[in-house]
């Protein structure tokens, strides 16, 4: 069999390492075989490829960010401002993350970086953060490790102007530079040359340029490129990229109108609807968010994010029984995580199915390895204890929660309330103070402290 055929077949069957080996041996014999070179490049790229739409990490606020439109945006037009009008329900206010956004039903790309106290330390340096995230750097080093005799392509010696003109090679080369090498600067240079060479007629290059620009934090240029690409060629990914850019620019309303525009071109598209639903949720419009999630479920009944978010909406809307049904659906699909059991336990508790409550929490505790999740489970168990009237147990649960996560502000607050009820106002005051220190946005400790002050 022709080695090239074998290499292609191995590539298709995702045996990238074997494919690379065969390509290397072809290239040893014929160093100028473009097809083998290109295939090896693509195999190397595919091996480390991470979908950059799903794993996008939004860079934290830049000191020299000149893209900020308004420092004090009007209510409802920004994702950054913490809304003060928290909708209250009988189950209490929907909890928020430490940055003030409502906690959503699932973990999504770009939401894990916002732990409090991480962004502040970098402010003093005059060099702003670029979005060349740790991931890009990691990819580069990971590729170097497995390469025995030096890198496959010496990027610095590459004649980018020459390759930019070869239509059949430039796109794989770009992806290689961008994903495998993580060399955004050279990738951008190639994209610039290529887009000039095809007289700005290929929308692909505009999107790639936008990718580079947004990685280099030149967001406005990226926006321009995608807008122009979308004029040429409608593509779901282009819409999503532009939406993400508006989110980064903190212009949720533009992002929403863009989502709606995209949905006109691609009716019922799940990815765009997901963006829309996330956006409306972040803007504190749970009703419309759930509406979109419902249409997602109609289109794609296996969408865990949508099901979980609808479940959560029902939970905070005083319908724990309905929420329980949604979560059970997620469970029967095979998700087996501590968070899910935790949610199931809470739903059981509030829908009076007390026999199942403790079993669910027991499972959640058995599965939880991450201390933050363990803390949340213990926190919720304290509610079970309070519901059972066992204040001592509740205090123990909250203490265990604080053992796992010493910055859990709500736990401090509840502990304070319990101690106050058991006649220790000074201890309560101290706990309230530390709750407020850990999360100043949380309204309860402040209000409670005022009450204590007046008494």
């Amino acid at each position: 069999m022709d080695p090239m055929y074998l290499a292609l077949s191995l590539f298709r069957r995702r045996h990238y390492d074997k494919c690379i080996d065969i390509c290397t041996s072809i290239l040893d014999k014929q160093p100028l075989d473009q097809a083998a070179w290109c295939l090896k490049m693509r195999a190397l790229t595919q091996r480390v490829y991470v979908d950059d739409l799903e794993s996008e990490e939004s860079p934290q606020d830049d000191v020299l960010d000149e893209n900020v439109v308004a420092s004090a945006p009007r209510p409802g037009t920004s994702l950054k401002s913490t809304s003060t009008a928290v909708p209250f329900t009988a189950l209490g206010a929907r909890p928020r993350t430490a940055t003030g956004r409502p906690i959503s039903g699932v973990v999504r790309p770009g939401t894990q970086t916002g732990r409090p106290g991480s962004a502040l330390d970098r402010l003093k340096t005059s060099r702003g953060t670029t979005a060349q995230s740790a991931r890009a750097i990691r990819l580069g080093t990971a590729a170097m490790l497995t390469q025995k005799d030096g890198p496959f392509i010496q990027v610095s010696r590459l004649n980018l102007a020459k390759y930019a003109k070869i239509k059949t090679l430039n796109k794989p080369l770009f992806e290689y530079l961008f994903y495998h090498e993580g060399d955004i600067r050279n990738a951008m240079e190639l994209a610039v040359l290529a887009t000039q060479h095809c007289e700005f007629k290929d929308w692909y290059w505009k999107i790639q340029l936008a990718k580079c620009y947004s990685a280099l934090n030149l967001i406005r240029d990226a926006e321009q490129q995608i807008r122009s690409a979308l004029k040429q060629h409608p593509h779901i990914e282009s819409y999503i990229r532009l939406i993400r850019i508006y989110i980064r620019l903190d212009q949720p309303l533009s992002a929403i109108s863009l989502c709606k525009q995209g949905l006109e071109v691609f009716p019922n598209d799940v990815s765009i609807m997901t963006e829309l639903a996330r956006l409306t949720e972040a803007l504190n419009e749970p009703q419309s968010s759930v509406k979109y999630y419902r249409s997602i479920v109609i289109e794609d009944a296996m969408n865990t994010e949508a099901i979980a978010c609808i479940g959560m909406y029902h939970f905070y809307n005083n319908q724990p029984e309905l929420a329980l049904r949604y979560y059970r659906r997620v469970l029967s699909m095979g998700a087996h995580s501590p968070e899910l059991y935790n949610n199931l336990g809470l739903c059981c508790l509030y829908s009076q199915q007390l026999d199942l409550t403790l079993a669910c929490f027991q499972r959640a505790l058995d599965l939880a390895t991450d201390p933050l999740i363990k803390a949340d489970v213990w926190y919720n168990l304290s509610y079970v204890a309070i519901a059972a009237g066992d204040i001592g147990l509740a205090i123990q649960c909250l203490n265990l929660c604080l053992v796992a996560d010493p910055t859990h502000a709500s736990a401090f607050n509840n502990l304070a309330v319990l101690h106050h009820r058991s006649g220790k106002p000074h201890l309560a005051k101290a706990y309230f103070t530390s709750a407020r220190e850990h999360q100043p946005e949380l309204p309860e400790p402040g209000i409670n402290l005022e009450v204590l002050q007046d008494a």
């Binding site: 499972r363 123990q396 002050q453």
Partner: protein
């Protein structure tokens, strides 16, 4: 994740070492009523199956039976692809086309019905074969050129050559333009054209007519490169995994479906998009079919899932047991629409979608029976966890001394320094050796030893880390002066923090003095000098040579001794001839700090038996000098700050210019970069210059810090000798921090000023009214040194007043003096239960309540204070 699972009912596997790919599976009718399944491995084995050829009686679906294999034939060449069609001229029978790397052969399947129950006899018969000029990649079969009842073959080679065969005759070659790697190719019967994906990730469609016109038999098409004009192209922007064309016979439409690496596309035959769907998983293979004029797509994802879409809507999803490389639909006799899956190792399965959900069952919990003893144990464990983290248990913390001994030995002899230091003239090139023994009585998990000396002294090594410490360990360190400046103190602090084997953290600290000869050199006594301090003692003075025995040599006067500091300044200690006084005098106040420290410590050591021995200081504190030094420090610090600001401004400017440069690079019509380059260079030079200045200023700052710390240390010692009550002394100790640190946002003055204000409001308050005002709880930057001076001098004044008050009391009446201070100290104690620093952290609410209780206490204590006033009034 899925509710359902694919149910397989018929499966077989191939031999070992056989590999299959996308094109290795074919489902075709082959002239019968139902579908045959044909597999061809890359090792050259061709198998034809007729699953479930024999129906079992009870209507159950049977398992694999050896009779299901129609033909198995081993070829010498690998098989790349198999196809079927009416490939023999003048014959309407479907034949099999087999593509080898350099050979295309067409076979016919002949089935002879068996006479007995042994079954049928089947074999393949070669009809014709074509030698290929180039290594083949794949083939496509169809009625090209709208021919009726005939199928032609088109073979794509690895280097992009399309070879057309009209049945037995070879017709034409054509090379594709812009070709690099072969892609799946398909034929659209409706428009008589071919679609494939070009290497620049476009979907291209060529009319058969234009391809056959461009072909030229005479020249090798690879070199002649005839220009084939595509009918249409569609810019996909990603590489594809597979593409198929489905003909909707009812609506007379052709659906072109493309599985890209990230998206699924559907185009019509003119190349415009019908729909696309973003796939949030990596797809492996797919298959399309039309049902009721809807397009259905089966996609297999890399995580072993089969997803069925109607258009873009997900209709069904099922879990697969294995990952197939290709999937087909087959119409078998007992079951229509069976799914046929083939894995790369040759596992062939026929399956159907079961509607019975396969629910995920979580592994059962094993705590069914409550074991109360065990639960109690668990509860105790958990309570233990809470206890240990909260550190509520004080009892376990006290006996650290029993578990651990820490001994310090200072070697009095001075060695020549072997370490690098910053001293310019190495006249005083000494170091001294310190040995530290750690004797643990129990095993210790982790221990960290930190050794602290004040600048300019340096200790090497300054920290040590031990884990699993169980035996006696000793460590030798060397102390030497790092810079030739004054030394504030010779104290060496050793701090040991340990985590015991139980996980309890402990800390231990020891202080000792280093030998004086490390720093001070003997000198000639001077009669007079600018700075003088007089100390009086309660007992008869001791001759100086006795105290400073190491400096004593013949001819030393009993009443005076002099030293020279590393900075080259001299200090003299004189013994008062008649009175019990020592007079210390020096060129500069900074030298005196060390002399006072040494004199007092040596006197105390000498009189260590005598508990009532006291050294006291009664003249006025050198407030002016302290202020001078802090003023100096403040100015330098301000200079440093302004330089730092300048650098940060310059570097942000530098960054802006860089950004601007990038923007210019990207500009469509390039303009000259000269001016920006000039700016960039200029800024760069400015930054360098400022950095150099900063380095100089940092040197000055460090000198100023050391001087300041000398003076502060001296004042602290003097205040200590004034005997103003231990509570107040503790507060003053924490107010005057001898280690002068300047943080980026907080300099020594800021901290000290706030502490001074706090002192003035609380312990040193003039009136009770002052005490009621809320003390400072926030740090403010000191901008105006005159305020600082005022606070400082006020503090000194009040300290002195307190002392004189007490002295008067003492002279008047010795016994009530102690009682007299009580009202004061009781009030102080209320504040003094914590060091100052930590009190600033307490929020204002706490202070508010403190104020309330204070006022209450004041009412209670009111009578006591009145008494105190009356005693003073008597005087």
């Amino acid at each position: 994740m899925s509710l359902f699972k694919l149910r397989h009912f018929w499966s077989t596997t191939s031999e070992d070492d056989e590999y299959f790919d996308q094109n290795s599976l074919l489902v075709t009718k082959l002239n019968s009523d139902f579908d045959y399944i044909v597999t061809a491995s890359q090792s050259g084995v061709l198998r034809i199956f007729n699953p479930l050829s024999e129906n079992t009686d009870d209507g159950q679906l049977g398992e694999y039976h050896p009779n299901d294999v129609v033909v198995e034939r081993i070829f010498d060449l690998p098989i790349l692809q198999i196809g079927s069609g009416r490939l023999v001229s003048g014959n309407q029978v479907t034949h099999l086309a087999i593509l080898h790397p350099l050979l295309l052969s067409v076979y016919t399947l002949i089935i002879k019905a068996g006479k007995t129950s042994h079954g049928n006899q089947s074999y393949l018969e070669l009809v014709y074969e074509h030698k290929l000029r180039r290594s083949a990649y794949n083939l496509v079969i169809g009625p090209f050129g709208s021919s009726q009842n005939r199928d032609f073959i088109c073979v794509q080679s690895l280097d992009g050559l399309l070879t057309f065969f009209e049945q037995e005759s070879q017709v034409s070659y054509v090379a594709l333009t812009d070709f690099l790697m072969p892609c799946p190719i398909s034929y659209i019967a409706k428009t008589d054209s071919f679609v494939t994906c070009s290497s620049d990730w476009h979907i291209v469609c060529y009319k058969y007519k234009s391809l056959s016109e461009a072909s030229d038999e005479s020249v090798d098409p690879i070199y002649s490169k005839p220009k084939v004009v595509p009918d249409w192209t569609y810019n996909l922007g990603e590489s594809i995994i597979d593409l198929t064309v489905i003909n909707d016979i009812i609506n007379k439409e052709a659906w072109l479906t493309i599985l890209g690496e990230k998206n699924l596309y559907s185009l019509n035959h003119r190349g415009s998009l019908r729909f696309m769907k973003r796939l949030d998983y990596p797809p492996v293979c797919f298959r399309c079919y039309i049902l009721d004029s809807y397009l259905f797509t089966l996609i297999v994802s890399e995580i072993n899932m089969l997803l069925i879409y109607q258009g873009t809507t997900l209709k069904w999803s099922a879990h697969l047991d294995f990952l197939p490389v290709t999937i087909h639909r087959a119409f078998l006799k007992p079951m229509k629409g069976t799914l046929v899956l083939l894995s790369e190792e040759g596992r062939l399965e026929c399956a159907y979608l079961g509607t019975e959900p396969c629910l995920f069952v979580a592994p059962p919990l094993n705590v069914q029976e409550l074991d109360y003893e065990k639960l109690e144990k668990e509860l105790l464990e958990l309570e233990d966890v809470i206890r240990t983290t909260n550190n509520n248990d004080v009892a376990v913390q006290t006996n650290i001394e029993k578990e651990l001994q820490l001994n310090l030995t200072v070697n009095e002899s001075i060695e020549i320094c072997v370490y690098e230091h910053n001293m310019k003239n190495a006249a005083n090139n000494y170091m001294c050796c310190v040995t530290i023994d750690i004797v643990p009585q129990v095993s210790i998990q982790e221990a960290q030893l930190a050794l602290l000396v004040q600048r300019p002294l340096k200790i090497v090594p300054n920290s040590m880390f031990y884990s699993n410490l169980s035996e006696k360990t000793s460590i030798t360190c060397y102390v030497f002066p790092d810079e030739s400046t004054e030394v504030p103190t010779l104290a060496l602090e050793v701090k040991l923090s340990v985590i015991s084997s139980l996980g309890v953290p402990r800390a231990l600290s020891r202080t000792t003095f280093l030998p004086m000869s490390l720093i001070m050199e003997p000198s000639i006594p001077e009669k007079e000098n600018t700075h003088k301090i007089t100390l009086s003692t309660s007992e008869a003075p001791i001759a100086l040579p006795t105290l400073f025995s190491e400096y004593t040599h013949e001819g030393t006067s009993a009443n005076s001794i002099a030293f020279k500091s590393p900075a080259g300044k001299t200090g003299t200690i004189l013994l008062g001839k008649s009175s019990e006084r020592y007079r210390l005098q020096a060129e500069s106040l900074t030298t005196l700090s060390l002399l006072v420290e040494q004199l007092v410590s040596r006197l105390k050591k000498y009189y260590s038996q005598n508990e009532t021995y006291r050294v006291s200081f009664s003249s006025s504190l050198p407030a002016g000098e302290i202020f001078e030094y802090s003023q100096k420090h403040f100015l330098v610090k301000q200079e440093v700050n302004s330089l730092q600001n300048k650098i940060s401004q310059l570097s942000s400017q530098y960054r802006l210019i860089q950004k601007r440069l990038i923007a210019k690079y990207r500009a469509k019509n390039p303009s000259s970069l000269k001016s920006l380059e000039l700016l960039l260079d200029d800024t760069y030079t400015d930054i360098l210059e400022a950095t150099e200045q900063l380095e100089n200023e940092m040197d000055n700052l460090s000198k100023a810090q050391i001087d300041l710390s000398c003076v502060v240390h001296l004042v602290k010692q003097l205040i200590g000798m004034m005997e103003i009550g231990s509570g107040l002394m503790e507060m003053i100790n924490s107010t005057f921090c001898t280690r002068v640190y300047d943080l980026e946002t907080q300099s020594w003055e800021d901290v000290t000023d706030t502490s001074l204000c706090y002192l003035l409001r609380t312990a040193l308050a003039k009136t009770d009214k002052d005490k009621l005002r809320v003390a400072h709880t926030s740090f403010e930057e000191v901008k105006d040194m005159s305020k600082f001076e005022k606070h400082l001098s006020q503090v000194f004044e009040r300290i002195q007043k307190k002392q004189s008050l007490k002295e008067e009391d003492e002279t008047e009446d010795d016994v009530p003096a102690n009682e007299n201070t009580n009202p004061d100290t009781s009030k102080e104690d209320f504040h003094l239960d914590k060091p100052i620093g930590s009190q600033f952290g307490v929020s204002s609410t706490r202070l508010l309540s403190a104020r309330k209780s204070l006022s209450r206490r004041r009412h209670k204590n009111g009578t006591d204070t009145d008494e105190a006033v009356t005693t003073v009034a008597k005087v």
